[in-house]
Point group: C2
Chain length 248, copies 2
DNA sequence: CCGCCGATTATTGTATACGAGAATATGGCA
DNA sequence: TGCCATATTCTCGTATACAATAATCGGCGG
């Protein structure tokens, strides 16, 4: 159904990563034709790929309209962070319960990568790695369902950051990750949970600049970002290449 | 993408409900042709519908093989309950924070329905209502993302019950629901959380009869249930009607 | 010069076609 | 009689076709 075709799978991964790394910004159009043409497959598969991304909340698709990279509302954004926090707590607790020394090393290796990316000002990779830290931790919980759910939420957080955050604030202060690792090592559930909560909270604060209940205030910010969105959606992952390529 | 076609939407709802109510048992085959024929649509739409159900974990689909109603492993089952508990806690906490008196009445009305269904020995409806209690509560949290995630998990729990539980144990002791309502009314977060936790725990215990790490022990039980599965998948929701209907 | 309306083009919705791979039945052989 | 090889049938994987609707552009009237 989903993993069958290598091309469809590649398209899925590519689009997913492009969205997460903010190479395709929220609102960017994703016409079935072009996606199919780009990945050398028919609209049938392009459509299935988009449907999958839609199910994960990364793509908006209203009937009869071209699919776009999702633009979560402020309210939705808050909801996502709330659920994410609940699952991160669970992930921390479960991971500590089955803690093994290798885990610490693995996570620290990851943090080193994060620092490297940050040092070389590679924002795209930075953003992705910041998210993946949380996924790796969730994986250590041993609970696949939890891992999957959290992965979905974390991706959507990248999207939220792209929409409402300031331009290039990479998601996490890396040293917060280090502190969490330290607490995990001590098997300090309460401490690790608290740190994680604060950490995600601070990401949320950075992401949701606006505090007003209405989204009007940041309409300006959003609109001014739009010019960038449109141009970026062309450069970006080279998806919309100039004009479209006809059916060849 | 998904809600476009009324037929596809109907098929989705029907299949979903049939699975949840255990009219279609785990392992039952779901050939694209038959589904399409039954709902008067082409395989294209049938396929999309199945993909959707697969994304929610209600359907298993390996490439080149006919899709079936999902058969979660014991391990997966435990994972699902674990995540569910985490989200139920969150739902309780959030709901209490924005509690309104109507909520109590609404939930009590629901419990009355549950009792009615139980009184008339309507197992199917009983099972469905038991799950919907939790969804309604999640809806009151005001967090759509949470509600959706929990709905998915609760559905999958019905599946687990069908696979591993004893034949007709309807999911919940209804009075546990009433106790939870009482705690909510008192805005007693700790108490309500504890009750919810115990409640889901008891559902889990009822669902996962086997405690052994290996699933060998209940292989017999599963196999003996299979005869029923096959015959039931024919009677059931009248999906596989005798032979298939050709392309008309 | 600006804004509304119709023609043109871009894109989606859905069915169908055809090839390929499983599943199942059939017949020969031990 | 029981088992394996092979033919047959059932399904899936994917592309393509065609109709229908939305977006876009150009001309007309104000």
């Amino acid at each position: 159904m989903s993993k069958s075709s290598p091309r469809a799978e590649i398209a899925y991964q590519a689009l997913r990563q492009a969205i997460i790394e903010q190479a395709l910004l929220p609102g960017a159009k994703l016409p079935e034709d072009q996606i199919g043409a780009h990945f050398g497959m028919s609209r049938t598969l392009a459509r299935a790929t988009l449907a999958r991304l839609q199910a994960e909340g990364l793509v908006d698709a209203r009937p009869k309209r071209t699919a776009t990279v999702a633009q979560p509302t402020l309210e939705e954004a808050r909801d996502i962070f709330e659920v994410r926090k609940a699952l991160e707590r669970e992930a921390v607790a479960l991971t500590i319960k089955r803690w093994r020394p290798e885990y610490g090393a693995a996570l620290e290796g990851h943090v080193r990568e994060e620092n490297a990316a940050k040092a070389r000002r590679d924002d795209r990779v930075s953003i992705r790695l910041a998210g993946e830290f949380h996924i790796k931790l969730a994986a250590m919980s041993g609970n696949k369902v939890l891992q999957r759910a959290l992965a979905e939420l974390v991706s959507r957080c990248s999207l939220i950051l792209a929409l409402y955050g300031r331009p290039h604030s990479s998601e996490c202060a890396v040293n917060e990750h280090s502190q969490i690792i330290a607490a995990l090592r001590k098997k300090d559930i309460a401490g690790a949970t608290r740190l994680m909560e604060e950490h995600v909270g601070s990401v949320e604060r950075r992401a949701l600049l606006a505090d007003a209940p209405s989204a009007d205030l940041d309409l300006d910010a959003v609109l001014s970002r739009y010019a960038r969105t449109i141009e970026a959606s062309n450069a970006a992952i080279s998806l919309p290449v100039g004009r479209r390529k006809r059916s060849s």
